[in-house]
Amino acid sequence: MPADPVSSLPSLSTRRLWYLRGVRAAFSIPGLILASAFIGFAGLAKEAGLTLAQTVFMVGMVWALPAKVVLIGAILSGASLPAAAFAVALSSIRLTPMVVALVPELRGPKTPRWVLYFLSHFVAVTSWVLAMERLRGIPRELRTSYYAGLGSTLVLFNMLVTAVVYLVADSLPPAVSAALFLLTPMYFLTSLWGSARERAGHVAMVLGLILGPLLHLVVPGFDLLGAGLIGGGAAFACHRLSRRKAPA
C-alpha cells in the first residue's frame, strides 16, 4: 500500500529516539524512589523464604508493588493458591481504572490493540503517574514508543535492584534493615495520596489505613477485602452526598 502522506507512520529511528527518551524518563526522582521501595521489597521477599530466582521472577511478572506485597503476605500466612490469587486480585482492582485512564492518552490513531495489551503490563503507580504527567507533551503517534521505553526500563532496572539487594541483604545492620522495610509503606502512603483524583480518594485512603489493621485484629483473612468494601463504599457515599449538596 502506498504511504499516506498526511498520517504516515513514524520511521523506526524516530521511534527509537522516543523509546530512548522514555528510558531516560525512568531515571528521574519518582523512578529512584521506586527503586528504593524495591530495596525494601527484596528484604521482604528474602525474609519470606523466596529464592533469588523466584523473587526476580515475581518482580518481572507481577510488577505492581502492592500486589507483590500482598502475594508475599499470602505466602507467609500459608494461604492456598486460590486464596492468594483472590487476595492479589483484590489488591489489584485499581489497575483497571488506571489503565482505563491511560489508554486514551497512550493510543495513537493507528495503534494496534495488541500493543496496548502488551504495554498495559508496565502499568503500576510510578510509570502511570509519570505517563499521565508527560504523555500530553509527546507526539501522539510516538507515545507508545515513549511508554515502552519508560515501562520496560523501570521493570528491568528494578529486577536488577531487587537481585543485588537480595544478595547483600543479610550483611546489613538491623537499623538499616528496619529503615529499608519502612520505605515501601512510606512510598505508598505519599504516592497514593498524591495520585487521588477526587476527595473520595483521600477519604477512602484514611478509612483504609485505619480499617486495615483494625479488621486484621477482628476478622483476620477478611481485613483487606473488608477495609476496601467498607472504606471505599463510605468514601463513595460521601462523594455522592457532597455532589448532591453542591449547586448544579
Binding site: A48, L81, A85, V88, R94, G212, L224, G232, F236
Partner: protein, 115 residues
C-alpha cells in the same frame, strides 16, 4: 496448594504466575478493553477507584502496624510516629514524596538510636 505444598522447582513459579501475574494482568487487560468504553469521571469509576484506594491503604496500614522483617523489633508507637511524621512532612512541605520518606526514615532511625 500452599507455596510449599509441592516439592518441585516449578511449583513456586507456577504459584507466582497464577497467584501474581494472572491476578494482576487480568485487571490491566480489562482496563485496555474498557479503555474507550467508560468515561473517566463516571460515578462507576469513582466507586471503583475508592474501593481500590481503601484496599491499598489497608495494605499500607497493615505493613506499619503488623510489619515483617527487621521492623518487627521496633516499637509500634515509633513506627506509627515515623509514618505519621513523614506523612505530615509530605503534606506540609510541598507534597514531595521524597520529603515524606526522608522525614519518616529520620524519625525511625533517631528513635532506634535513642533506644
Amino acid at each position: 496448594m500452599t507455596f510449599d505444598a509441592i516439592d518441585a522447582w516449578w511449583w513456586p513459579f507456577l504459584f507466582i504466575l497464577v497467584g501474581g501475574w494472572l491476578a494482576t494482568d487480568a485487571w490491566r487487560f480489562l482496563g485496555v478493553y474498557l479503555g474507550d468504553r467508560l468515561s473517566e469521571d463516571s460515578d462507576l469509576l469513582v466507586l471503583v477507584r475508592a474501593l481500590a484506594t481503601a484496599l491499598v491503604a489497608a495494605v499500607i496500614g497493615n505493613l506499619i502496624v503488623f510489619p515483617s522483617g527487621a521492623l518487627v523489633d521496633t516499637a509500634l508507637a515509633l513506627r506509627i510516629g515515623a509514618a505519621g511524621g513523614g506523612f505530615a512532612a509530605y503534606l506540609l512541605l510541598g507534597r514531595k514524596i521524597l520529603v515524606g520518606i526522608v522525614a519518616a526514615e529520620f524519625i525511625l532511625l533517631v528513635g532506634l538510636w535513642i533506644k
